[in-house]
């Protein structure tokens, strides 16, 4: 079984090398995708600990070591203090505006992507629980 799977994988890889098709990828591709993510998450960690996101030098990590107590698995959820269902990036921006005394990042800002990547990476393996308070 394993041998036939491997043969199939190699066969696909050899084929994919000449003519790329939808949904075909090699082990090398997968490694690259993973690396791309890890680099962005590492950038997120850098921002998380840097004190550069706001104006007062306060860093996210001062209150949230290892991004703990951010529970990304519970978003989107009803955020009682905002009175509506909220996405994680809105809470990140809330923290940037308040304890960090800074300005909102656009939701698709590469820095926001990096922050959310880091937060989620530190919570890997935890079951999704959307809406949980």
């Amino acid at each position: 079984m394993l041998r036939s799977t491997l043969l199939l994988a190699f066969g696909l890889a050899a084929f994919g090398a000449t003519t790329a098709r939808a949904d075909e990828f090699t082990k090398t591709d997968v490694e690259r995708y993973q690396k791309e993510f890890e680099q962005v998450a590492a950038k997120g960690r850098e921002l998380w600990t840097s004190g550069a996101l706001g104006t007062n030098g306060v860093a996210c990590a001062q209150c949230h070591p290892n991004a703990a107590n951010t529970h990304p698995e519970t978003y989107p959820k009803f955020q009682k203090q905002l009175g509506k269902v909220t996405q994680l990036f809105e809470m990140v921006n809330w923290c940037i505006r308040n304890p960090l005394q800074g300005a909102n990042l656009p939701p698709d800002d590469p820095r926001m992507t990096a922050l959310v990547s880091y937060i989620t990476f530190e919570r890997r393996g935890v079951k999704l629980a959307p809406g949980q308070h």
Partner: protein, 357 residues
């Protein structure tokens, strides 16, 4: 059980008979188990005063310390003394220590200070000493022996040989979750001093030890940890009543190891998650501990506060003054032989916000 004379009853007695005005306090039998005068002390910790630049400081952290000082000054009857539990500064700078000391200088009563890592790793406690004196010391008060330890030391290699500048050393230690940090310890020299300090005491003398880090092992990754905790505990173990009070963790914790009771105190600056909420590592929050309520970040001072402490029962009773939340009291249960939260110890009494994830 001891019979206690409260300050109020002492003063009332003094008023009733002028001849006794100087007598009641000195005549109180101070030995543990006899009649003695009750007293309270105030505990404020972890202010993390943070300079932005020049004369501007992070407003949020300033407000926490100012509020604690203002409230502590209103307590009646007054506390006998105040402990500041360490981390007055964020990056050990003179400006931060001076600004924090200025706020603390408004306190009524004698202040005893404990060294935190944020006060230490820039100049190894040099400037802090100019403000507050020796890094470790002991004093006696009304029959109780109080010991202040500097528990945030670490290896010589890390302290003296690892970092190119003092500023970088401070920054590396200031990051709670920084893997480049190093485990805290009391160290050989100070443990020898402690052994000598204890040698002259009767084993019945109640001990209260103040340290910045927990003198027990909870989670190494965030230095909720003292590497030589067991050695320190062994020195304290022969005494009948030992109480350790520590800061650093910014959350309510309590525990009992042998005859040693442990109580943590809150920060005035910001709360920390319980270590079990970091999903990638194992930690060992004492099973006795009922967590504090989850912090609501929209209330700036929620899950921060200060403490009023007495040892009237022969053990620590910590009254947590929690802003924007219900007060909590953790007191020693003599039947159970360990500290309990007087409101929440029974599982049926736990509140939903005390569940963390």
């Amino acid at each position: 059980m001891s019979e206690f004379i409260t300050r109020r009853s002492v003063l009332a007695g003094a008023g009733a008979s002028a001849a006794l005005t100087t007598l009641p306090i000195s005549m109180v039998t101070l030995a543990f188990g006899g009649t003695r005068e009750d007293f309270t002390f105030t505990y404020i910790s972890d202010a993390h005063i943070q300079q932005i630049k020049g004369a501007s400081f992070v407003r949020n952290w300033d407000q926490g310390l100012k509020r604690a000082v203002a409230e502590a000054n209103l307590v009646k009857p007054e506390s006998d003394f105040v402990i500041f539990g360490g981390d007055l500064a964020q990056l050990g700078k003179r400006e931060e220590l001076d600004h924090g000391a200025e706020i603390l200088s408004k306190l009524k009563g004698k202040l005893h200070a404990v060294m935190g890592e944020h006060d230490y790793y820039l100049d190894l406690g040099d400037y802090w000493s100019k403000l507050y004196g020796p890094h470790y010391y002991s004093f006696d008060h009304k029959g109780v022996h109080f010991i202040v330890l500097n528990s945030i030391l670490t290896s010589e290699q890390w302290t003296f040989h690892r970092w190119p500048t003092a500023e970088q050393r401070m920054l590396e230690m200031a990051g709670l979750d920084n893997p480049n940090g190093s485990p805290f310890m009391v160290g050989d020299k100070q443990r020898k001093w402690l052994a000598n300090d204890l040698a002259k005491l009767d084993k019945k003398t109640p001990l209260v030890v103040f340290s910045h880090s927990p003198l027990q092992k909870i989670y190494k990754g965030w230095n909720f940890w003292t590497d030589d905790a067991e050695e320190v505990q062994a020195l304290l173990a022969p005494f009948d009543s030992v109480n350790v009070i520590y800061g650093h963790v910014h959350q309510i914790q309590y525990n009992q190891i042998g005859n040693i009771s442990f109580n943590s105190v809150m920060a005035t600056a910001w709360p920390w998650p319980y270590p079990q909420s970091y999903a990638q590592a194992e930690s060992h929050l004492p099973v006795l501990t009922i967590p504090m309520n989850r912090a609501d970040p929209f209330f700036e001072r929620d899950a921060t506060g200060w403490q009023l402490i007495d040892i009237g029962s022969g053990r620590v009773t910590a009254r947590y003054q929690l802003w924007d939340n219900d007060q909590r009291t953790v007191a020693f249960d003599h039947k159970a032989g360990h500290p309990v939260d007087i409101a929440y110890q029974e599982p049926t009494q736990h509140r939903l916000p005390q569940t963390h994830y």
